[in-house]
Protein backbone atom coordinates (compact mmCIF):
# COMPACT_ATOMS: atom_id res chain seq x y z
CA UNK A 1 0.00 0.00 0.00
CA UNK A 2 1.17 3.53 -0.82
CA UNK A 3 2.71 5.06 2.28
CA UNK A 4 0.99 8.42 1.81
CA UNK A 5 -2.39 6.69 1.55
CA UNK A 6 -1.70 4.59 4.62
CA UNK A 7 -0.59 7.63 6.61
CA UNK A 8 -3.70 9.61 5.70
CA UNK A 9 -6.16 6.80 6.43
CA UNK A 10 -4.48 5.99 9.76
CA UNK A 11 -4.72 9.67 10.68
CA UNK A 12 -8.34 9.77 9.54
CA UNK A 13 -9.11 6.72 11.68
CA UNK A 14 -7.96 8.57 14.78
CA UNK A 15 -9.99 11.62 13.71
CA UNK A 16 -13.14 9.51 13.37
CA UNK A 17 -12.57 7.85 16.73
CA UNK A 18 -12.49 11.31 18.34
CA UNK A 19 -15.96 12.04 16.94
CA UNK A 20 -17.63 9.69 19.43
CA UNK A 21 -16.43 11.62 22.52
CA UNK A 22 -17.33 14.77 20.56
CA UNK A 23 -20.83 13.43 19.98
CA UNK A 24 -21.03 12.54 23.67
CA UNK A 25 -20.33 16.18 24.63
CA UNK A 26 -22.68 17.51 21.93
CA UNK A 27 -25.49 15.35 23.32
CA UNK A 28 -24.37 15.60 26.96
CA UNK A 29 -24.53 19.40 26.97
CA UNK A 30 -28.04 19.28 25.52
CA UNK A 31 -29.13 16.79 28.17
CA UNK A 32 -30.13 17.72 31.70
CA UNK A 33 -27.46 17.93 34.40
CA UNK A 34 -28.83 14.90 36.25
CA UNK A 35 -28.47 12.67 33.16
CA UNK A 36 -25.31 13.96 31.49
CA UNK A 37 -23.05 11.16 32.70
CA UNK A 38 -25.51 8.54 31.51
CA UNK A 39 -25.39 10.17 28.09
CA UNK A 40 -21.58 10.18 28.04
CA UNK A 41 -21.55 6.56 29.17
CA UNK A 42 -23.95 5.45 26.42
CA UNK A 43 -21.50 6.89 23.88
CA UNK A 44 -18.36 5.57 25.54
CA UNK A 45 -20.01 2.17 25.80
CA UNK A 46 -19.94 2.03 21.99
CA UNK A 47 -16.19 2.71 22.14
CA UNK A 48 -15.76 -0.32 24.40
CA UNK A 49 -18.05 -2.88 22.83
CA UNK A 50 -18.02 -2.21 19.10
CA UNK A 51 -14.26 -2.63 18.49
CA UNK A 52 -14.47 -6.16 19.88
CA UNK A 53 -17.65 -7.09 18.02
CA UNK A 54 -16.16 -5.54 14.89
CA UNK A 55 -13.01 -7.70 14.78
CA UNK A 56 -14.77 -10.85 15.99
CA UNK A 57 -17.40 -10.82 13.24
CA UNK A 58 -18.69 -7.33 12.37
CA UNK A 59 -16.25 -6.43 9.62
CA UNK A 60 -16.52 -9.84 8.01
CA UNK A 61 -20.33 -9.67 7.95
CA UNK A 62 -20.37 -6.08 6.71
CA UNK A 63 -17.67 -6.22 4.02
CA UNK A 64 -16.32 -9.68 3.26
CA UNK A 65 -17.18 -11.97 0.35
CA UNK A 66 -18.96 -11.60 -2.95
CA UNK A 67 -22.58 -11.99 -1.88
CA UNK A 68 -25.32 -9.45 -2.38
CA UNK A 69 -27.11 -9.19 0.97
CA UNK A 70 -24.66 -10.14 3.74
CA UNK A 71 -20.97 -10.85 4.15
CA UNK A 72 -19.42 -14.14 5.20
CA UNK A 73 -17.25 -15.42 8.05
CA UNK A 74 -13.92 -15.48 6.14
CA UNK A 75 -12.38 -12.64 8.15
CA UNK A 76 -13.76 -13.43 11.62
CA UNK A 77 -11.26 -13.01 14.47
CA UNK A 78 -9.03 -11.10 12.00
CA UNK A 79 -8.11 -14.40 10.34
CA UNK A 80 -6.33 -14.26 6.96
CA UNK A 81 -5.28 -10.64 7.44
CA UNK A 82 -1.63 -9.94 6.79
CA UNK A 83 0.72 -6.96 6.46
CA UNK A 84 3.23 -8.80 4.28
CA UNK A 85 0.90 -9.75 1.44
CA UNK A 86 0.52 -7.90 -1.86
CA UNK A 87 -1.93 -5.36 -0.46
CA UNK A 88 0.47 -4.55 2.36
CA UNK A 89 -2.14 -4.52 5.09
CA UNK A 90 -4.74 -2.43 3.29
CA UNK A 91 -7.54 -4.78 4.38
CA UNK A 92 -6.37 -4.51 7.98
CA UNK A 93 -6.39 -0.73 7.56
CA UNK A 94 -9.98 -0.97 6.29
CA UNK A 95 -10.92 -2.93 9.42
CA UNK A 96 -9.47 -0.13 11.55
CA UNK A 97 -10.94 2.81 9.62
CA UNK A 98 -14.40 1.32 9.12
CA UNK A 99 -14.45 0.13 12.73
CA UNK A 100 -14.48 3.77 13.82
CA UNK A 101 -17.66 4.29 11.75
CA UNK A 102 -19.21 1.21 13.33
CA UNK A 103 -18.52 2.75 16.77
CA UNK A 104 -20.25 6.06 16.13
CA UNK A 105 -23.31 4.78 14.26
CA UNK A 106 -25.16 3.18 17.20
CA UNK A 107 -23.85 6.03 19.40
CA UNK A 108 -25.95 8.43 17.30
CA UNK A 109 -29.10 6.70 18.54
CA UNK A 110 -28.33 7.55 22.18
CA UNK A 111 -29.52 11.14 21.71
CA UNK A 112 -33.08 10.02 21.02
CA UNK A 113 -33.46 7.65 23.97
CA UNK A 114 -31.86 10.08 26.47
CA UNK A 115 -33.14 10.48 30.04
CA UNK A 116 -35.11 7.22 30.34
CA UNK A 117 -33.44 4.15 28.84
CA UNK A 118 -32.21 1.47 31.19
CA UNK A 119 -28.44 1.23 30.80
CA UNK A 120 -28.41 -2.57 30.79
CA UNK A 121 -30.83 -2.51 27.85
CA UNK A 122 -28.59 -0.04 25.99
CA UNK A 123 -25.55 -2.21 26.75
CA UNK A 124 -27.17 -5.15 24.96
CA UNK A 125 -28.86 -3.09 22.26
CA UNK A 126 -25.56 -1.74 20.91
CA UNK A 127 -23.93 -5.04 19.82
CA UNK A 128 -27.29 -6.53 18.73
CA UNK A 129 -28.08 -3.55 16.52
CA UNK A 130 -24.59 -3.55 15.02
CA UNK A 131 -24.85 -7.17 13.90
CA UNK A 132 -28.54 -7.27 12.95
CA UNK A 133 -28.93 -3.85 11.31
CA UNK A 134 -25.62 -2.11 10.60
CA UNK A 135 -23.74 -5.07 9.11
CA UNK A 136 -26.38 -6.07 6.51
CA UNK A 137 -27.17 -2.46 5.53
CA UNK A 138 -23.47 -1.76 5.16
CA UNK A 139 -23.05 -4.82 2.95
CA UNK A 140 -25.94 -3.85 0.65
CA UNK A 141 -24.18 -0.61 -0.24
CA UNK A 142 -20.46 -1.27 0.27
CA UNK A 143 -20.15 -5.08 0.30
CA UNK A 144 -17.78 -7.03 -1.91
CA UNK A 145 -14.26 -8.47 -1.71
CA UNK A 146 -12.21 -5.54 -0.36
CA UNK A 147 -10.52 -3.69 -3.23
CA UNK A 148 -12.26 -5.69 -5.99
CA UNK A 149 -15.47 -3.78 -6.55
CA UNK A 150 -18.96 -3.87 -5.12
CA UNK A 151 -21.27 -6.86 -4.99
CA UNK A 152 -23.85 -5.59 -2.48
CA UNK A 153 -27.25 -5.36 -4.18
CA UNK A 154 -27.79 -1.62 -3.72
CA UNK A 155 -24.20 -0.67 -4.49
CA UNK A 156 -24.15 -2.61 -7.77
CA UNK A 157 -27.35 -0.89 -8.89
CA UNK A 158 -25.42 2.39 -8.82
CA UNK A 159 -26.71 4.00 -5.65
CA UNK A 160 -24.06 6.28 -4.11
CA UNK A 161 -23.04 6.80 -0.49
CA UNK A 162 -19.52 8.17 -0.16
CA UNK A 163 -19.01 8.14 3.60
CA UNK A 164 -22.24 6.88 5.11
CA UNK A 165 -25.24 9.16 4.60
CA UNK A 166 -27.60 6.25 4.12
CA UNK A 167 -25.66 3.52 5.93
CA UNK A 168 -24.92 5.65 8.99
CA UNK A 169 -27.18 8.69 9.32
CA UNK A 170 -30.44 7.60 7.72
CA UNK A 171 -29.97 4.16 9.25
CA UNK A 172 -29.29 5.40 12.81
CA UNK A 173 -31.85 8.20 12.49
CA UNK A 174 -34.77 5.95 11.62
CA UNK A 175 -33.60 3.42 14.23
CA UNK A 176 -33.79 6.24 16.78
CA UNK A 177 -37.43 6.79 15.82
CA UNK A 178 -38.22 3.08 16.21
CA UNK A 179 -36.50 3.09 19.61
CA UNK A 180 -38.43 6.01 21.05
CA UNK A 181 -41.70 4.55 19.82
CA UNK A 182 -41.13 1.50 22.03
CA UNK A 183 -39.56 3.48 24.86
CA UNK A 184 -42.28 6.14 25.09
CA UNK A 185 -42.12 9.79 26.08
CA UNK A 186 -40.16 11.16 28.99
CA UNK A 187 -42.31 12.07 32.00
CA UNK A 188 -43.53 15.63 31.58
CA UNK A 189 -42.68 15.88 27.87
CA UNK A 190 -43.47 18.11 26.08
CA UNK A 191 -45.23 20.26 28.72
CA UNK A 192 -42.27 20.45 31.06
CA UNK A 193 -39.31 21.96 29.21
CA UNK A 194 -36.06 20.04 28.85
CA UNK A 195 -33.59 22.79 27.89
CA UNK A 196 -29.84 22.07 27.51
CA UNK A 197 -27.89 22.18 30.79
CA UNK A 198 -24.57 23.30 29.25
CA UNK A 199 -24.37 25.07 25.91
CA UNK A 200 -20.55 25.39 26.13
CA UNK A 201 -20.29 21.58 26.14
CA UNK A 202 -22.55 21.49 23.08
CA UNK A 203 -20.30 23.96 21.25
CA UNK A 204 -17.14 22.08 22.20
CA UNK A 205 -18.70 18.83 21.03
CA UNK A 206 -19.69 20.49 17.76
CA UNK A 207 -16.11 21.63 17.19
CA UNK A 208 -14.77 18.13 17.85
CA UNK A 209 -17.35 16.64 15.49
CA UNK A 210 -16.43 19.03 12.68
CA UNK A 211 -12.70 18.38 13.23
CA UNK A 212 -13.22 14.62 13.21
CA UNK A 213 -15.54 14.77 10.21
CA UNK A 214 -12.61 15.71 7.97
CA UNK A 215 -11.32 12.19 8.65
CA UNK A 216 -14.80 10.73 8.22
CA UNK A 217 -15.34 12.21 4.76
CA UNK A 218 -11.87 12.89 3.33
CA UNK A 219 -10.56 9.62 4.78
CA UNK A 220 -13.32 7.78 2.95
CA UNK A 221 -11.39 8.37 -0.29
CA UNK A 222 -9.16 5.66 1.25
CA UNK A 223 -6.24 7.46 -0.36
CA UNK A 224 -4.35 10.74 -0.08
CA UNK A 225 -5.50 12.04 -3.46
CA UNK A 226 -7.67 14.60 -5.23
CA UNK A 227 -10.90 12.94 -4.15
CA UNK A 228 -9.81 13.30 -0.52
CA UNK A 229 -8.99 16.97 -1.11
CA UNK A 230 -12.42 17.69 -2.64
CA UNK A 231 -14.18 15.70 0.11
CA UNK A 232 -12.28 17.83 2.65
CA UNK A 233 -13.38 21.04 0.91
CA UNK A 234 -17.00 19.82 0.77
CA UNK A 235 -16.92 19.05 4.50
CA UNK A 236 -15.59 22.54 5.19
CA UNK A 237 -18.18 24.36 3.07
CA UNK A 238 -21.36 22.37 3.70
CA UNK A 239 -21.02 22.66 7.48
CA UNK A 240 -20.47 26.41 7.29
CA UNK A 241 -23.38 26.94 4.89
CA UNK A 242 -25.78 24.83 6.94
CA UNK A 243 -24.79 26.50 10.22
CA UNK A 244 -25.37 29.88 8.61
CA UNK A 245 -28.72 28.80 7.15
CA UNK A 246 -30.04 27.45 10.46
CA UNK A 247 -28.87 30.55 12.34
CA UNK A 248 -30.59 32.86 9.84
CA UNK A 249 -33.83 30.86 9.98
CA UNK A 250 -33.86 31.24 13.78
CA UNK A 251 -33.08 34.94 13.58
CA UNK A 252 -35.99 35.51 11.22
CA UNK A 253 -38.42 33.05 12.80
CA UNK A 254 -37.63 33.32 16.54
CA UNK A 255 -35.77 36.62 16.81
CA UNK A 256 -32.23 35.57 17.82
CA UNK A 257 -29.07 33.92 16.55
CA UNK A 258 -28.69 31.02 18.99
CA UNK A 259 -25.65 28.90 19.77
CA UNK A 260 -27.74 25.74 19.60
CA UNK A 261 -29.03 26.77 16.18
CA UNK A 262 -25.48 27.26 14.90
CA UNK A 263 -24.31 23.94 16.39
CA UNK A 264 -27.32 22.06 15.02
CA UNK A 265 -26.86 23.60 11.59
CA UNK A 266 -23.17 22.67 11.45
CA UNK A 267 -23.97 19.07 12.35
CA UNK A 268 -26.87 18.96 9.87
CA UNK A 269 -24.53 20.21 7.14
CA UNK A 270 -21.88 17.63 8.02
CA UNK A 271 -24.50 14.89 7.92
CA UNK A 272 -25.90 16.09 4.60
CA UNK A 273 -22.55 16.31 2.82
CA UNK A 274 -21.44 12.88 4.06
CA UNK A 275 -23.11 10.81 1.29
CA UNK A 276 -21.99 13.15 -1.49
CA UNK A 277 -18.57 14.23 -0.19
CA UNK A 278 -16.70 12.41 -2.99
CA UNK A 279 -19.30 12.99 -5.71
CA UNK A 280 -20.03 16.74 -5.69
CA UNK A 281 -17.81 19.77 -6.29
CA UNK A 282 -17.74 23.51 -6.94
CA UNK A 283 -20.62 25.38 -5.32
CA UNK A 284 -22.70 22.21 -4.82
CA UNK A 285 -21.64 21.66 -1.17
CA UNK A 286 -22.84 25.18 -0.36
CA UNK A 287 -26.24 24.47 -1.89
CA UNK A 288 -26.44 21.13 -0.09
CA UNK A 289 -25.51 22.81 3.20
CA UNK A 290 -27.99 25.65 2.80
CA UNK A 291 -30.83 23.28 1.91
CA UNK A 292 -30.03 20.88 4.75
CA UNK A 293 -29.74 23.73 7.27
CA UNK A 294 -33.15 25.14 6.39
CA UNK A 295 -34.93 21.78 6.11
CA UNK A 296 -33.51 20.42 9.38
CA UNK A 297 -34.26 23.64 11.29
CA UNK A 298 -37.93 22.96 10.59
CA UNK A 299 -37.71 19.16 10.84
CA UNK A 300 -36.78 19.35 14.55
CA UNK A 301 -40.22 20.83 15.24
CA UNK A 302 -42.11 17.86 13.76
CA UNK A 303 -41.81 15.78 16.94
CA UNK A 304 -44.00 18.22 18.87
CA UNK A 305 -46.80 17.80 16.33
CA UNK A 306 -46.32 14.07 15.73
CA UNK A 307 -45.91 13.32 19.44
CA UNK A 308 -42.72 11.21 19.49
CA UNK A 309 -40.13 12.19 22.09
CA UNK A 310 -36.86 12.20 20.13
CA UNK A 311 -35.06 13.91 23.02
CA UNK A 312 -32.07 15.49 21.25
CA UNK A 313 -33.38 15.45 17.65
CA UNK A 314 -31.58 12.48 16.14
CA UNK A 315 -34.46 12.12 13.67
CA UNK A 316 -34.66 15.82 12.79
CA UNK A 317 -30.90 16.22 12.27
CA UNK A 318 -29.42 12.84 11.34
CA UNK A 319 -32.31 11.11 9.58
CA UNK A 320 -33.59 14.16 7.75
CA UNK A 321 -30.11 15.60 7.07
CA UNK A 322 -28.82 12.27 5.79
CA UNK A 323 -31.86 11.73 3.60
CA UNK A 324 -31.73 15.24 2.13
CA UNK A 325 -27.99 14.92 1.42
CA UNK A 326 -28.39 11.49 -0.12
CA UNK A 327 -31.24 12.55 -2.41
CA UNK A 328 -29.38 15.72 -3.45
CA UNK A 329 -26.60 13.54 -4.90
CA UNK A 330 -29.23 12.69 -7.50
CA UNK A 331 -29.13 16.36 -8.55
CA UNK A 332 -25.50 17.38 -7.93
CA UNK A 333 -23.31 14.30 -8.68
CA UNK A 334 -20.52 15.37 -11.03
CA UNK A 335 -18.50 12.40 -12.41
CA UNK A 336 -16.57 14.60 -14.84
CA UNK A 337 -14.93 16.52 -12.01
CA UNK A 338 -13.79 13.32 -10.31
CA UNK A 339 -13.00 11.38 -13.49
CA UNK A 340 -15.17 8.81 -11.76
CA UNK A 341 -17.23 5.85 -12.92
CA UNK A 342 -20.48 6.86 -11.26
CA UNK A 343 -23.74 8.21 -12.65
CA UNK A 344 -24.25 11.95 -13.12
CA UNK A 345 -26.94 13.87 -11.25
CA UNK A 346 -29.85 15.68 -12.89
CA UNK A 347 -28.03 19.04 -13.02
CA UNK A 348 -24.97 17.42 -14.66
CA UNK A 349 -26.77 15.74 -17.55
CA UNK A 350 -27.63 12.47 -15.84
CA UNK A 351 -31.42 12.57 -15.88
CA UNK A 352 -33.48 11.19 -13.01
CA UNK A 353 -31.92 7.73 -12.89
CA UNK A 354 -29.52 8.41 -10.03
CA UNK A 355 -32.18 10.19 -7.99
CA UNK A 356 -34.34 7.08 -8.34
CA UNK A 357 -31.53 4.83 -7.13
CA UNK A 358 -30.91 7.12 -4.15
CA UNK A 359 -34.61 7.03 -3.27
CA UNK A 360 -34.70 3.25 -3.58
CA UNK A 361 -31.63 2.68 -1.39
CA UNK A 362 -32.87 5.02 1.32
CA UNK A 363 -36.39 3.60 1.18
CA UNK A 364 -35.15 0.06 1.63
CA UNK A 365 -32.83 1.02 4.48
CA UNK A 366 -35.58 3.02 6.21
CA UNK A 367 -38.01 0.09 6.20
CA UNK A 368 -35.43 -2.54 7.18
CA UNK A 369 -33.79 -0.51 9.93
CA UNK A 370 -37.09 0.67 11.42
CA UNK A 371 -38.61 -2.83 11.53
CA UNK A 372 -35.56 -4.66 12.87
CA UNK A 373 -34.75 -1.95 15.45
CA UNK A 374 -38.38 -1.95 16.59
CA UNK A 375 -38.19 -5.72 17.07
CA UNK A 376 -34.89 -5.54 18.99
CA UNK A 377 -36.43 -2.97 21.34
CA UNK A 378 -39.59 -5.08 21.75
CA UNK A 379 -37.59 -8.18 22.62
CA UNK A 380 -35.43 -6.27 25.11
CA UNK A 381 -38.56 -4.74 26.62
CA UNK A 382 -40.20 -8.13 27.02
CA UNK A 383 -37.11 -9.66 28.64
CA UNK A 384 -35.09 -7.19 30.73
CA UNK A 385 -37.17 -4.05 30.14
CA UNK A 386 -35.96 -0.96 28.29
CA UNK A 387 -37.20 1.82 30.54
CA UNK A 388 -36.00 2.89 33.98
CA UNK A 389 -38.60 2.98 36.80
CA UNK A 390 -40.22 6.33 37.57
CA UNK A 391 -38.09 7.19 40.66
CA UNK A 392 -34.88 6.66 38.65
CA UNK A 393 -36.09 8.96 35.91
CA UNK A 394 -37.03 11.61 38.47
CA UNK A 395 -33.83 11.42 40.55
CA UNK A 396 -31.62 11.21 37.48
CA UNK A 397 -29.89 8.37 35.69
CA UNK A 398 -26.40 9.52 36.69
CA UNK A 399 -26.90 8.70 40.34
CA UNK A 400 -29.25 5.75 39.98
CA UNK A 401 -27.63 3.95 37.03
CA UNK A 402 -23.97 4.86 37.53
CA UNK A 403 -23.63 5.99 41.18
CA UNK A 404 -22.00 9.25 40.06
CA UNK A 405 -23.00 12.90 39.69
CA UNK A 406 -21.53 15.37 37.22
CA UNK A 407 -21.44 18.58 39.25
CA UNK A 408 -20.60 19.19 42.90
CA UNK A 409 -19.21 22.72 42.97
CA UNK A 410 -22.37 24.89 42.88
CA UNK A 411 -22.48 25.40 46.64
CA UNK A 412 -18.88 26.62 46.68
CA UNK A 413 -19.20 29.21 43.94
CA UNK A 414 -22.55 30.73 44.94
CA UNK A 415 -23.44 30.73 41.25
CA UNK A 416 -21.29 33.82 40.66
CA UNK A 417 -18.71 32.18 38.40
Amino acid sequence: MDTGDAAWVLTSSALVLFMTPGLALFYGGMDRSRNVLNMLMMNFWCLLVIPLVWVIAGFSLAYSGAGSVIGNFDLVFLSDLSITDESGGSTLLAVIFLGMFAVITPALISGAVADRMKFSAWALFVPLWLVLVYCPVSFWIYGGVWGEGLTGWLGTRGSLDFAGGTVIHVNAGIAALAGVMVLGKRRGWPGEGHPPHSMPLVMLGTGILWFGWFGFNAGSAFAANGVAIQAFMNTFLAAAAAGLAWAVVERVRDGHFTNLGVASGIVAGLVAITPGAGFVAGMSPIWIGLIAGVVCSFAVGVKFKAGYDDALDVVGVHFVGGLVGSLLIGLFADPDFFGGEFDAGLFYGGGLGLLGEQALANGVVIVFSFVVTFLIFKVLDATIGVRVPEPVETTGLDLEEHSETAYHADALTMGRL
Binding site: P195, R253, S297, M414, G415
Partner: protein
Amino acid sequence: MKLVTAVIKPFKLDEVKEALKAAGVVGITVSEVRGFGRQGGHSETYRGAEYKIDFVPKVKLEIVLDDPEVARVVDVLVAAAATGEIGDGKVWVTAVDDLVRIRTGERGADAV
Protein backbone atom coordinates in the same frame (compact mmCIF):
# COMPACT_ATOMS: atom_id res chain seq x y z
CA MET B 1 -32.22 41.05 68.48
CA LYS B 2 -33.38 40.93 64.92
CA LEU B 3 -32.79 38.70 61.92
CA VAL B 4 -32.35 40.70 58.73
CA THR B 5 -33.06 38.60 55.65
CA ALA B 6 -32.38 39.97 52.18
CA VAL B 7 -32.95 38.44 48.74
CA ILE B 8 -30.81 40.26 46.18
CA LYS B 9 -29.47 40.02 42.64
CA PRO B 10 -26.52 37.59 42.62
CA PHE B 11 -24.10 39.99 40.94
CA LYS B 12 -24.67 42.51 43.77
CA LEU B 13 -23.35 40.14 46.44
CA ASP B 14 -19.77 41.40 46.52
CA GLU B 15 -20.84 45.05 46.64
CA VAL B 16 -23.33 44.37 49.44
CA LYS B 17 -20.80 42.33 51.39
CA GLU B 18 -18.20 45.12 51.24
CA ALA B 19 -20.75 47.75 52.23
CA LEU B 20 -21.95 45.69 55.20
CA LYS B 21 -18.40 45.01 56.37
CA ALA B 22 -17.63 48.73 56.13
CA ALA B 23 -20.76 49.38 58.23
CA GLY B 24 -19.41 47.12 60.97
CA VAL B 25 -21.38 43.93 60.31
CA VAL B 26 -19.28 41.00 61.58
CA GLY B 27 -21.16 38.02 60.16
CA ILE B 28 -23.29 37.16 57.14
CA THR B 29 -24.74 33.86 56.00
CA VAL B 30 -25.43 33.56 52.25
CA SER B 31 -27.23 30.95 50.21
CA GLU B 32 -28.12 30.47 46.59
CA VAL B 33 -31.86 30.52 46.10
CA ARG B 34 -34.36 30.69 43.26
CA GLY B 35 -37.66 32.43 43.10
CA PHE B 36 -39.88 34.96 41.46
CA GLY B 37 -41.51 38.21 42.47
CA ARG B 38 -42.99 40.91 40.28
CA GLN B 39 -40.07 40.44 37.90
CA GLY B 40 -41.45 37.01 36.98
CA GLY B 41 -39.19 34.56 35.16
CA HIS B 42 -37.77 34.70 31.67
CA SER B 43 -37.98 32.58 28.54
CA GLU B 44 -35.24 30.84 26.57
CA THR B 45 -35.42 29.42 23.04
CA TYR B 46 -33.75 26.17 21.98
CA ARG B 47 -34.22 24.80 18.44
CA GLY B 48 -37.27 27.00 18.07
CA ALA B 49 -38.98 25.70 21.23
CA GLU B 50 -39.57 28.29 23.95
CA TYR B 51 -38.95 27.34 27.58
CA LYS B 52 -40.30 29.44 30.45
CA ILE B 53 -37.84 29.74 33.34
CA ASP B 54 -40.13 30.69 36.27
CA PHE B 55 -37.60 30.71 39.08
CA VAL B 56 -34.67 33.03 38.57
CA PRO B 57 -31.42 32.76 40.59
CA LYS B 58 -31.06 35.06 43.60
CA VAL B 59 -28.78 35.23 46.62
CA LYS B 60 -30.22 35.26 50.14
CA LEU B 61 -28.35 36.94 53.02
CA GLU B 62 -29.10 36.42 56.68
CA ILE B 63 -27.67 38.71 59.34
CA VAL B 64 -28.42 38.71 63.07
CA LEU B 65 -28.10 42.16 64.66
CA ASP B 66 -28.61 43.88 67.99
CA ASP B 67 -31.72 46.14 67.85
CA PRO B 68 -30.02 49.59 67.68
CA GLU B 69 -28.00 48.62 64.57
CA VAL B 70 -30.88 47.31 62.49
CA ALA B 71 -32.19 50.48 60.82
CA ARG B 72 -28.73 51.71 59.79
CA VAL B 73 -27.59 48.31 58.43
CA VAL B 74 -30.79 47.85 56.45
CA ASP B 75 -30.26 51.27 54.87
CA VAL B 76 -26.69 50.36 53.91
CA LEU B 77 -27.83 47.03 52.50
CA VAL B 78 -30.63 48.56 50.45
CA ALA B 79 -28.35 51.27 49.08
CA ALA B 80 -25.72 48.73 48.02
CA ALA B 81 -28.17 46.22 46.51
CA ALA B 82 -30.29 48.67 44.52
CA THR B 83 -30.03 49.03 40.76
CA GLY B 84 -33.42 50.68 40.28
CA GLU B 85 -34.48 47.89 37.92
CA ILE B 86 -37.27 45.41 38.55
CA GLY B 87 -36.00 42.29 40.35
CA ASP B 88 -33.74 44.04 42.90
CA GLY B 89 -35.25 41.88 45.65
CA LYS B 90 -36.50 42.48 49.20
CA VAL B 91 -35.29 42.89 52.75
CA TRP B 92 -37.32 41.89 55.80
CA VAL B 93 -36.69 41.99 59.52
CA THR B 94 -37.93 39.47 62.06
CA ALA B 95 -37.56 39.19 65.81
CA VAL B 96 -35.07 36.69 67.27
CA ASP B 97 -36.00 35.08 70.61
CA ASP B 98 -32.61 33.78 71.54
CA LEU B 99 -29.05 33.50 70.23
CA VAL B 100 -26.11 31.33 71.34
CA ARG B 101 -22.46 31.53 70.31
CA ILE B 102 -21.59 27.85 70.13
CA ARG B 103 -17.89 28.19 71.00
CA THR B 104 -18.38 30.09 74.29
CA GLY B 105 -22.00 29.50 75.19
CA GLU B 106 -22.66 33.28 75.38
CA ARG B 107 -26.35 34.09 74.99
CA GLY B 108 -28.50 36.96 73.74
CA ALA B 109 -27.04 40.28 72.56
CA ASP B 110 -23.56 39.23 73.76
CA ALA B 111 -23.53 36.52 71.10
CA VAL B 112 -24.20 38.85 68.17
